[in-house]
Subunit: 121 residues, 2 copies
């Protein structure tokens, strides 16, 4: 039997919505999600978990209350549990997120940018 | 304060050993590891966890008892918990692995390819 690889860029081509993560894989109780973004996201934090960003396309700045990190394609960063952050992209960015199943994109903050969760593509 | 992104290819340039994963990041009790391989690895399984392969460079075939999957750069696959598998690379491959901290590269099989665990670069 031939099993199917998950092609990250092919999955990214399947949606256009910004700040609306799509699930592409599950490992134990963790999920791998793809998201697109442009402009400013909201300040938020995830009280219960770390969160991983892996940059696929574009340039992403993540602001913290005491600094920032800039991510280019092929770079990643682990946002520690409970740390407030605000993603910020000048142009379109495409990222892979890794976090436990059930984590909401805006964390503990209710926002018009709060997206539906657990949408698979 | 300027935080540092983790650059995957820069980390890959820091070691040459084959089939010997190096840790580059930790998210909760999970680790992101880089590994290089060439030729045949051993049949093994991880009785307690799924395992994610993300292909960075080269072409990797993962054999299962009932089939196989081929991975190119930008593709990923989740090996289900308990499923026997054997990675196999014609040329050099470079991969990122995601799995719980403490998972050994040869799983439940003791082999001359069993590598030290939890080596950070």
């Amino acid at each position: 039997m031939k099993y199917e690889a998950i092609n990250i860029k092919e999955k990214l081509s399947k949606f256009d919505e910004l700040w609306s993560p799509r699930v592409i894989a599950e490992m134990n109780d963790y999920q791998f999600k793809l998201a697109k973004g442009e402009g400013e996201f909201v300040w938020h934090h995830h009280p219960e978990t770390d969160e991983v960003f892996i940059l696929i396309e574009g340039e992403l700045e993540i602001e913290f209350r005491d600094g920032n990190v800039s991510l280019s394609p092929g770079e990643m960063f682990v946002i520690p549990k409970g740390v407030e952050h605000k993603p910020h992209a000048k142009g379109l960015v495409q990222v892979m997120l890794v976090e436990p199943k059930g984590v909401v994109n805006t964390g503990s903050v209710a926002s018009e940018l709060t997206a539906d969760n657990d949408i698979w593509i």
